[in-house]
Symmetry: C2
Subunit: 353 residues, 2 copies
C-alpha cells in the first residue's frame, strides 16, 4: 500500500492515523493516551514515571501509544501538583556587563545538569525592578533565586519566601552567601605592583554606592595610605564604567606624571585605564603597570592584555547553584562560602622574575 508516495504496512498505517489524530486534535493529554491504550490515566502515569507496578504487556502497549502520539507530559500540571517548578532565577544588574555572562553560563550549565531551568533577570541595580522580579518569581513558584545586588536591603532579602543565595555580598547569617575575599585580593594586587618596583600607585575606584567597590578602595587605602607619596589625589572614580574610567585616568595621570602603577577596581575600568594611557602615549607596562580585578575573559583580548586579580567566576556560579539546590531539596544549614582571587599576570604589568 502506498500513500503520498510513501510505502505503508499495517504498522505504518496505524502510525499515520495517529499522526493525523495528533495534528488535528492537537493536544495529546494523558487522558487520550489512556483511552487509546485502553487503560486508566493512573497506569499511564505509572509508566511515565516508572513508578509502581505495571505488567510488562501493559507497559509496552502504553509506551507504544506514547511514542506513536508523540505524547509529552504537560510540565505545568506536574509543577502544580508538586508545588514546584524545577526552575531557578538569576538576578543580575545587567547581563551586558562582561562579568555576568560567565556567571550566567555557570549558573545555567549547573542548573541544567541538575534538571533545572534558568530564568534571567536584569535589574539594573534598580530597587523596584528587583522587588517586582522577586514578586513575579514567587508567584511563578520558581524554586529558588540567586541574587547579585548592591541595592536590595537585608530586610527585603529576609522577606523573600524562597531559597536565596546572595552573590558578592555579605549577608545576615540566615541567608546563604558567596563572596570574594577582597582584602586578600587587593593586598595581592598592591603587593604585586610594589614587587615590580612601582613607587606611586593610583586607584581607579568603582561607584560610591557599591559595597565591593568601597571595600576594595578601603583595602587599597589600608595598603598604601601610610606611604609618603600617598595623597587623596591618588584615587579616581571610574564608576565601573569604561568611558568614565578613561576620563578619570587621564586626569589623574596628567596631574601626576610620576604614577607608575594603577590598580583598577574592576577589569572594565582597567580597560579604560589602558585606553587613557594609550591616548596619552604613556607606555604600558614600561612606564605604567596596570592591574585590574575580576578576571573577565575579555581581559586577554585588549592590548596590552590586562593583568588582573582573577575571580573564579565560573566556580562561584556553580557553587551558588549547588548551595541553592541543597536548600531547595531541604538542607537547613545556611552556607557562606568565600572565594579567593588569584593573580593573573599578563602584559599590562612589567615582567618580573
Amino acid at each position: 500500500m502506498t500513500f503520498k508516495g510513501k510505502r505503508f504496512n499495517i504498522k505504518n498505517v496505524t502510525g499515520y492515523i495517529f499522526e493525523i489524530y495528533r495534528k488535528v486534535v492537537c493536544i495529546v493529554t494523558i487522558k487520550k493516551v489512556a483511552e487509546l491504550a485502553g487503560v486508566s490515566t493512573a497506569t499511564v502515569s505509572r509508566v511515565l514515571n516508572n513508578k509502581g507496578n505495571v505488567s510488562a504487556r501493559t507497559k509496552m502497549i502504553v509506551e507504544d501509544i506514547i511514542h506513536e502520539m508523540e505524547y509529552e507530559p504537560n510540565d505545568l500540571a506536574r509543577m502544580l501538583y508538586r508545588g514546584r517548578s524545577n526552575m531557578i532565577a538569576l538576578l543580575v544588574p545587567d547581563i551586558m556587563n562582561p562579568f555576568f555572562p560567565e556567571l550566567a553560563r555557570a549558573v545555567e550549565d549547573t542548573a541544567k545538569s541538575e534538571g533545572y531551568t534558568c530564568i534571567l533577570c536584569n535589574t539594573d541595580g534598580d530597587y523596584y525592578k528587583e522587588i517586582s522580579y522577586i514578586k513575579a518569581i514567587t508567584q511563578k513558584k520558581i524554586d529558588g533565586v540567586i541574587i547579585v545586588s548592591n541595592t536590595i536591603t537585608e530586610d527585603e532579602v529576609d522577606d523573600i519566601n524562597l531559597p536565596v543565595v546572595m552573590l558578592d555580598r555579605k549577608t545576615k547569617a540566615n541567608v546563604n552567601s558567596i563572596t570574594i575575599d577582597n582584602q586578600a585580593g587587593v593586598q595581592d594586587a598592591i603587593n604585586f605592583l610594589k614587587s615590580l618596583g612601582c613607587k606611586k600607585i593610583a586607584h581607579l575606584a568603582g561607584p560610591e554606592n557599591d559595597i565591593n567597590a568601597q571595600v576594595r578602595k578601603d583595602y587599597y587605602l589600608k595598603e598604601v595610605g601610610q606611604e609618603k607619596w600617598f595623597d587623596s589625589d591618588m584615587i579616581a572614580f571610574g564608576d565601573y564604567d569604561f568611558d568614565k574610567s578613561v576620563i578619570a585616568t587621564k586626569k589623574i595621570l596628567s596631574n601626576n606624571s610620576d604614577i607608575d602603577g594603577l590598580f583598577a577596581g574592576n577589569d572594565l575600568m582597567g580597560f579604560g585605564a589602558l585606553k587613557a594611557a594609550y591616548d596619552l602615549r604613556i607606555d604600558v607596562p614600561k612606564s605604567l603597570s596596570v592591574i585590574g580585578f575580576d578576571g573577565i575573559s575579555l581581559g586577554e583580548t585588549v592590548t596590552p592584555s590586562l593583568t588582573t586579580m582573577e575571580q573564579p567566576i565560573y566556580d562561584m556560579g556553580m557553587y551558588a547553584v549547588k548551595i541553592l539546590l541543597d536548600q531547595i531539596e531541604g538542607e537547613k544549614v545556611y552556607r557562606h562560602k568565600k572565594f579567593f582571587a588569584q593573580l593573573k599576570k599578563r602584559e599590562s604589568t612589567k615582567q618580573g622574575d
Copy 2:
C-alpha cells in the same frame, strides 16, 4: 497593648494574627482568602482579576484580606488553566560570546515590558542540546522561542510545536526570521577599506560550518576575487575564536607584508587581528586598517578601538520578541525582517575625510 516591643491597636493585632497564620500555614491560597473573607473563591478571583461584578463592599473586604495575608496567586495554576505560561525562551550558542549578552538584554527587556519572563538556554551549537532544550520548552508550555543556531535543520524547526523566530538565519517561508544583510554589510566594509586606499585586503573568516561566516566570506570573494593582487592566501580562518585569530593573522601577515587592510568576519576575530598586529609591531591603522563585523560594545574598549560594521543588535532582539509575541497572540502571517549593518568608524582604520 504591646507585644515584642511593638505597639498594637486592634487593627494591628488582626494583622499580627494573620501574619502568624501566614507563617505557620505557609501557603495562602485563594480558598483560604475566600474562607476568611466569607465569600466564594469565584468572588476572590473576580476581585483578583478585576473582572465581573463585585459589590464595592465585598471588594474591600476581600482586598483587605488579600493584603493582610499577603496573598499572591499561584501562577502555575493560572498557567495550567490558561494553557500558557507567559514565558519565552532564548536559545543561543553561548552567552559568553560577547554578541549575545546585548541580544539577551534586548530580548529580556522587551519580554518583560510585555509581561513575559525569559528563559536563557546555552546550546553550544550542539545539536542534541538544542533538541533537548526544545523538548523541555515544549513540555513546560513555554509560549514561544527565539533561536540562534546554525546547526538545527529546517525540518527540526518545522517540527517545533510552538511559535518560533529564527535569528541570523534564513529559513523556510513558514518560519519567522530576522537576518542581517550580509551582502550590503560586506560590500560596505570592503568599499570603505578601498576608499581608504587599501591595496591588498585580507579576510579573517569564521568557521566553515557557520552559514553567516560562509556568506561573508563569499561576499568578500565577490568583492575582491577579481583583483590582480588577490589569491587564496588572502583568507585565513579565525573560527570566531580570539586565539585562533591571533595565530591565523600572524601567519597571513608574515607571509604577505604588503597587506594593508583586513576584514574580520566578526569583532572577536577583529580583536585577534589587532593583537596579532601589536605583537608583530605592525602599526594599526597606519600600516594596516582593520575592520570587524558585529558592533559589540567591547569594540570601543580595545586599543586601538575597532572599526566595525555595526549590527543593530538591540533592535534585532527587540523585534524578534515583537514578532514572537504577535505569533503567540494569534497572528497568522510569518515575517522575515532584514536588518542592515552600519559602518562604525573607530581607530583601527585610517582616518579618511
